[in-house]
Each structure stands twice: as structure tokens, then as C-alpha cells.
């Protein structure tokens, strides 16, 4: 491998993008994924919120923070102006690894814009025109991976690694920097560390044959990068033999759903074709065109490879944000194209979905796409773990098309929060709050005191006009949620009642009004 094969690359990334994308104003925001903090807004950071810590300790560090689940669609939508600004001013062909990070081949722009400093200045100026000023980091180096590493460390202004000095830059860094850019898995970093190999320099010093034998393709690639050879190609080069799919529509498609449905079909064909050749797609260009020749094209990269479902996710994000962008799209879609521009050997780290485990998974995934096309994406939902003390809060139903269906971990049970009413959970939880009446033995409306005691024994419950006698009851269990936040604070009490027809309900009172929280049926 020769160094001349490496592409001078600029990586722009916005730290904590999942939090920045959904913040409004300066209020602290913490984003939680699978029970851990994955991003925090600057205000929350200032309070000391750390990556990877649990929700509880994040809330302790910053009690005023809004704690939110991840919103991939909002992340893409908010990143779109940045992508458009860079596309318009610097380079038409940029690679979007994930929302919040993009990179491009610098060679062309460098000639045109007066050197690398000129390119960096143009990028910063372009990003500066986007709504809400953002702290962006810029890294420039030989090859996309090293430029990402540089980008992640460029906290005090752009970091430019001179040509041929990648290795010297990487040597003293801890190996986890290669985990952050998707070259090594967390497990491998951990294993290497236990073997006494802590820095990139330690890894580079090993014999490449030994690394390949012990750590396979993953280790060999990390070793290459450690020694300064980073020759993954960017979007500019298009190997001819890689598959692509294109569909034209005689009748322009008026909405997103049919386009996504088409993308899913094409993605399945592409994934099938590649896996038959023992490959998986790491780099994908998705384009679409309207009847009025409006055009969207994005380059997506995923180091672990795209399953068909992951390709569809990207396609839907892209087309959604394009159409929702406002004013850009004035006609229906007449063309959709998927082009595979980067592949790697399929080493069996694919999502379970395409791993050939169960045909049922594949069939179900296709049915989900069809259902979404029939009745709308918002009406087809799957559970993901969330957190909360009220019935229905421990798991949330989210649109199926916004998740990777093949990833079983998305619905790993969240821990039970202290203060929840214990098992069993109600099997019906009305979406609204249905008002009910609860009376005590004297026929007076039942009240709960500030100390969480009932005014008298409950005797009668009226649900939807039907009066029934109480035959057993338990509680009340008071609950004070978000006591630190005057706007979202809730103070309520919950009780379980069994009525004369044998049915049991969970009822709650808030500000003297009773409502039906759930039923056990």
C-alpha cells in the first residue's frame, strides 16, 4: 500500500450532537440511550454531566436538565442545514457518517479555495450561517479515519495533521480513539489493554502478521492506521463493479411512504446481492429527484456495515428531512437511487436480521414496511425501553421505521424505577385521562391529604357512568415527580381498587381530580 493512495480529508464534527439537535435555547438537556448518557448540551456539561453515566447520577449533577430519549429523525433534520451549507460552498460530494459528523476529500477544494486554511475558513463561515451557532470541531489529516480522530480532539480550534505525520500524531494516543471512529470494538480495546497494549504506538510496534493472526481483519486494519496508512476511499472514487439500484416512477410519488417502501425493496436486493458475495456495504449514496428536477444526494457511512433495515433508516431520514426542509421540494418524487460505493468483507458482525437466523424476522420486517405504507408510519410502532414510574412509561411505543428492527437490544427491559407501583402492570392504560368519581362510605368525594392519607375508606367508584361498590383497596401511594421543576412538577397519589364485579383498576388523583390510570384485564 502506498501513501499516495491516501486522500487528504477534512472531518467536521459537532460534539454532543444528539443533545444539541434537540435543545431549544440554553436550557440544559441530557440525552439517554439504553440507560446511559450519550450526549449533553453545553449547559448540562457545565454542571458536570459525563458521557456514559447513568440517568440518576446525571440528574443529580444537573437537576434542572431535561432528560430525553434519543431522536434520530430530529438529529438528521437539524443537521441538514449544515450539510447543505457545506455542499453549496465547499464540496458537492460529502460523506455523512452519522448526523453531527461529515467529511470530504480536500484535494479539489484546496486548489480552488487557496490552500487548506482557505478550505477551513470557508467551512467555518458556511457553518456559521446555519441557525443557532454551534461549537464545531475540524480535523484535517491523511485519510478519513485519522481525520476523524483529529476532529474528535480538535476542541481548541482546527487541528491539521501535516502530510505524512499521521503516525506521529497517533502514537501517544490511547487506543480508545480508534473505538470512537469505529475501527476497533470496545471489546478489542479492552482486551488489548489487558494485554498491556494501551496506546496506538504500542499497537504499531507489534508485528503485523501477529496482529492479523490474533485479531483478524479488525486488528490488521487498526495496525495499518496505527502505522499511518489510512486508505479507505471517500465518495470521490466509484469502483465500477459495486451494485446499484434505481427506480423511476411515471406517476410522481406525493408522499414519503411509497418512496421509503421502494427504498426498502432496493435495499433488500442490494443487501442480498452483497451477502451472496460475502460482502457488506459500508458506504452508500442515496439520491432522489422530483418532477421539477429538485435533487437530493447524500453519502452515508457505517463502519460496521449496513443491514437492509439500516439502509432504509438512512433513506427515510434523508427524504423526510428533504421534504420537511420547507420550500425545497415542490413536486412528487420521480426517481430514487441507491448506490453502494464502499464494501468490506462480511466477517459476520451483521445484524441478526440478515444473519440468516430466522426467515420470520425478514418476513416481519417486510410486513412492517408495507403496513407503514398502508396506514402511515406513525401508526406502526414497536416498543423501546424508556423510564418512568407511571404505567406505560417504562417502555415507549415508537414508529417502527425509526428503529433498527433487527436489533433486539432496543427493547432491553429498563430497570424498574423506585416509586413505581409493583408488578403486575395494568394491561389497559387509556391514552387520555378518563375522569372518574370516587366516593367514601359517607357518599362524599374521596380526598387524599397532603401526608398521603385517605379522608375515609373508599366505597364507590363511578367509571363511564357505571357505579360499582369497592370490595378491596390498597394504597394510596403518593408520587412527587420532578419536584425541582416548577413547570413539569406533578404531585399525585395512586390506589388500587377491586370492584364488586371482580375487576381491578389503578386509579389516581391529582389536584383533587380522580382519573383511571389503568385496568387489570
Amino acid at each position: 500500500m502506498s501513501r499516495s493512495g491516501m486522500v487528504r480529508t477534512l472531518t467536521l464534527s459537532i460534539p454532543d450532537w444528539p443533545a444539541i439537535a434537540i435543545s431549544e435555547g440554553e436550557d440544559p438537556v441530557v440525552v439517554i440511550d439504553r440507560g446511559r448518557v450519550i450526549a449533553a448540551s453545553p449547559a448540562a456539561r457545565a454542571c458536570g454531566v459525563q458521557h456514559g453515566e447513568r440517568r440518576r447520577s446525571a440528574v443529580r449533577a444537573c437537576p434542572t436538565a431535561r432528560v430525553l430519549p434519543r431522536d434520530p429523525l430530529a438529529e438528521v433534520r437539524a443537521f441538514d442545514p449544515v450539510v447543505s451549507a457545506v455542499t453549496a460552498t465547499v464540496s458537492p460530494r460529502i460523506e455523512v457518517d452519522r448526523p453531527g459528523e461529515l467529511r470530504f476529500d480536500m484535494r479539489g477544494p484546496t486548489r480552488r479555495l487557496g490552500g487548506e486554511d482557505g478550505v477551513i475558513a470557508t467551512v467555518l463561515e458556511a457553518v456559521g450561517t446555519c441557525p443557532s451557532p454551534r461549537a464545531v470541531t475540524i480535523g484535517v489529516a491523511d485519510g478519513p479515519t485519522v481525520s476523524s480522530v483529529a476532529g474528535h480532539r480538535a476542541i481548541d480550534g482546527p487541528l491539521v495533521i501535516p502530510v505524512g505525520e499521521s503516525s506521529a500524531f497517533l502514537m501517544p494516543l490511547h487506543l480508545s480513539c480508534l473505538y470512537g471512529v469505529g475501527v476497533l470494538s470496545a471489546e478489542t480495546v479492552d482486551l488489548l489493554e489487558r494485554l498491556g497494549i494501551r496506546t496506538v504506538g504500542d499497537l504499531a510496534a507489534l508485528d503485523p502478521g501477529v496482529v492479523l493472526a490474533r485479531f483478524g481483519v479488525e486488528g490488521a486494519r487498526a495496525h495499518c492506521i496505527a502505522t499511518g496508512v489510512d486508505d479507505r476511499l471517500l465518495a470521490a472514487v466509484e469502483p465500477a463493479s459495486l451494485p446499484e439500484r434505481e427506480r423511476r416512477f411515471d406517476d410522481p410519488l406525493p408522499t414519503t411512504s411509497p418512496a421509503v417502501f421502494t427504498i426498502r425493496e432496493m435495499a433488500e436486493e442490494l443487501a442480498g446481492e452483497l451477502s451472496a458475495a460475502g460482502l457488506s456495504c459500508t458506504s452508500l449514496i442515496i439520491s432522489a429527484e422530483t418532477d421539477h428536477s429538485e435533487w437530493t444526494e447524500r453519502h452515508w457511512y457505517r463502519s460496521e456495515g449496513f443491514s437492509a433495515a439500516a439502509m432504509v433508516d438512512r433513506g427515510r431520514w434523508q427524504i423526510d428531512s428533504w421534504i420537511a426542509g420547507g420550500g425545497v421540494v415542490t413536486a412528487g418524487i420521480v426517481l430514487v437511487r441507491l448506490r453502494v460505493v464502499g464494501v468490506k468483507a462480511d466477517v459476520g458482525r451483521q445484524d441478526g436480521f440478515w444473519g440468516g437466523i430466522a426467515a420470520a424476522d425478514e418476513v416481519a420486517a417486510r410486513a412492517v414496511a408495507r403496513l407503514a405504507a398502508i396506514c402511515g408510519e406513525d401508526r406502526v410502532r414497536v416498543p423501546v425501553s424508556a423510564g418512568g414510574r407511571l404505567p406505560g412509561e417504562r417502555c415507549a411505543w415508537v414508529p417502527a421505521m425509526t428503529t433498527d428492527l433487527g436489533d433486539p437490544a432496543r427493547s432491553d427491559p429498563a430497570p424498574v424505577w423506585a416509586g413505581s407501583v409493583t408488578q403486575p402492570a395494568p394491561t389497559t392504560v387509556p391514552s387520555g385521562s378518563d375522569p372518574i368519581d370516587v366516593f367514601d362510605v359517607a357518599g362524599e368525594p374521596l380526598a387524599i391529604s397532603g401526608r398521603g392519607e385517605v379522608s375515609a375508606d373508599p366505597a364507590m367508584v363511578v367509571i363511564a357512568g357505571e357505579r360499582r361498590r369497592v370490595v378491596a383497596w390498597a394504597g394510596p401511594w403518593p408520587l412527587l415527580e420532578r419536584w425541582w421543576d416548577p413547570r413539569h412538577r406533578r404531585r399525585m397519589a395512586r390506589m388500587q381498587v377491586v370492584l364488586e364485579d371482580g375487576r381491578a383498576h389503578l386509579i389516581a388523583v391529582e389536584q383533587r381530580r380522580w382519573w383511571l390510570m389503568g385496568s387489570y384485564d
Binding site: 430466522a358 420470520a360 424476522d361 418476513v363 416481519a364 417486510r366 410486513a367 412492517v368 408495507r370 403496513l371 398502508i374 396506514c375 402511515g376 401508526r379 406502526v380 410502532r381 414497536v382 416498543p383 404505567p391 406505560g392 417504562r394 417502555c395 415507549a396 411505543w397 417502527a400 436489533d407 433486539p408 437490544a409 432496543r410 427493547s411 427491559p413 407501583v421 409493583t422 408488578q423 403486575p424 402492570a425 395494568p426 394491561t427 389497559t428 392504560v429 387509556p430 391514552s431 385517605v454 375508606d457 378491596a472 383497596w473 390498597a474 394504597g475 388500587q496 377491586v498 364485579d501 371482580g502 375487576r503 381491578a504 389503568g518 387489570y520 384485564d521
Partner: protein, 224 residues
């Protein structure tokens, strides 16, 4: 006539049991007495009604979903995912659809993609029920309706009606809901003989369902 029909059914069943894994979806052992064929036969419709309808439906599908099948819930928006979890159903193979105005189309697509479907019976009209039954037969899925049925035109293959729930663990201002004893009555076109069973649903230790056959209504035929 009845005896003839049942005798005739015997060899067919044993032939089917050769490919049991394919033709019959499993149910948990505690529920086996409710299923004359030893599990959920594909292409059948089942209804659950009464005060424990949802709990019964969820416990019926649990074993099949754990075994790798997918579950679709149709028009059950008010069923929280954590209840599914407590019944031991792996959430990553569950999809919930609310059909809006295109119920018939949605049910068609659901039957193509899922082997196990639970539908709120309130969303099925008589005309639709007939079509659903036909499609289910040709698609080899199992459809379970929950709630009181609006249509008397089409009777399901198996009907489970729950009654007389008795909660334990809760007192007069003390304790909390822990477990429920409920009576399940089996009827329906393919029930062979009516049956009454008492189940713990849920049981004190979670979802385990020890069962106890109470008796049969008018024993017509005994297998020898």
C-alpha cells in the same frame, strides 16, 4: 354423528403431529389442557373475552413468541409494552398497528407478515370477521381477538370466556394486587368438548400459570 366426526379427526391429527413443529405453534404447558390439538393450530381463530381477556391472550401467545415468532397487535394502542414484558413476551418481536380507516387492508398485510396476531374485537365488524376468518385459514397465522365480540355471524374455532376473577394480596386498605384466580370456559367450533378450567392469571410468582381442571360441561365423548 358427533362420534363419527371425532373418530374421523383422530388419524388426521396424528398425521399432523408428525410435523408438529410446523403445523402447531407451542403454548406453555400450563395452558395445554385448553388446547385439544396440543397447541395453537395455524389457520385458526381464537377469541378471549371477559374480565381477564387480555391477560389470557398474552399468556397464550407467550411460548410462540419466545420461540422466534413475531406478534402483531392490531388496534390495541392502550396495551402497555411493560404488560407484555411481564408475561414473558420478548419485546423485540412485537409490532403494534393502529389501523385507522383501513382496517381490512391492515389485517391483510398483518396476516402476510406475522404468525401471531392479537386484534381488538371492537374493530372487527361482522362482514370483516368473515373475511378475516377466510384469510387466516389461507395464511397459516393464528388470530386471537380480545374483548366482547360485536359479530355473532362468525364463531371462532376456539372461544375462551373468562369469569369470576378473584384477586389476592389486596385487602381493605392493605397489601396490593398480587395474583388473580379466574375461571376460563372453553367452547367454539373446534373445542371438541366444553371445558372449565381455573387459572392463576397472573400467578403470585409472576406469570406462571398452574391450572386445575374443574370439570366439563356434558361430557359427550371420551378418547380411549
Amino acid at each position: 354423528m358427533v362420534a363419527l366426526a371425532d373418530n374421523h379427526a383422530m388419524p388426521v391429527r396424528s398425521a399432523a403431529s408428525l410435523s408438529l413443529g410446523d403445523h402447531v405453534l407451542p403454548v406453555s404447558p400450563e395452558l395445554l389442557p385448553l388446547f385439544p390439538e396440543g397447541g395453537l393450530v395455524r389457520g385458526r381463530t381464537v377469541s378471549c373475552s371477559g374480565p381477564a381477556a387480555r391477560s389470557l391472550a398474552l399468556s397464550i401467545v407467550m411460548a410462540a413468541i419466545t420461540g422466534g415468532r413475531w406478534l402483531a397487535l392490531v388496534n390495541l394502542d392502550d396495551l402497555p409494552a411493560e404488560a407484555l414484558m411481564e408475561f414473558g413476551i420478548p419485546l423485540h418481536r412485537v409490532v403494534s398497528v393502529s389501523s385507522g380507516s383501513s382496517t381490512a387492508e391492515v389485517i391483510g398485510a398483518v396476516l402476510d407478515g406475522f404468525e401471531m396476531v392479537i386484534i381488538s374485537s371492537g374493530s372487527i365488524s361482522s362482514a370483516l370477521a368473515r373475511r378475516v376468518a377466510q384469510r387466516v385459514r389461507s395464511r397459516e397465522a393464528v388470530v386471537i381477538t380480545v374483548g366482547e365480540s360485536r359479530s355473532s355471524a362468525v364463531s371462532p374455532d376456539l372461544e375462551f370466556s373468562t369469569s369470576d376473577p378473584l384477586w389476592s394480596g389486596i385487602g381493605w386498605g392493605t397489601g396490593r394486587l398480587v395474583s388473580r384466580r379466574v375461571r376460563v370456559e372453553r367452547s367454539g367450533r373446534r373445542a371438541q368438548r366444553p371445558l372449565i378450567l381455573d387459572l392463576s392469571l397472573p400467578a403470585p410468582s409472576g406469570v406462571l400459570i398452574p391450572s386445575e381442571e374443574v370439570g366439563t360441561l356434558g361430557t359427550r365423548l371420551r378418547m380411549v
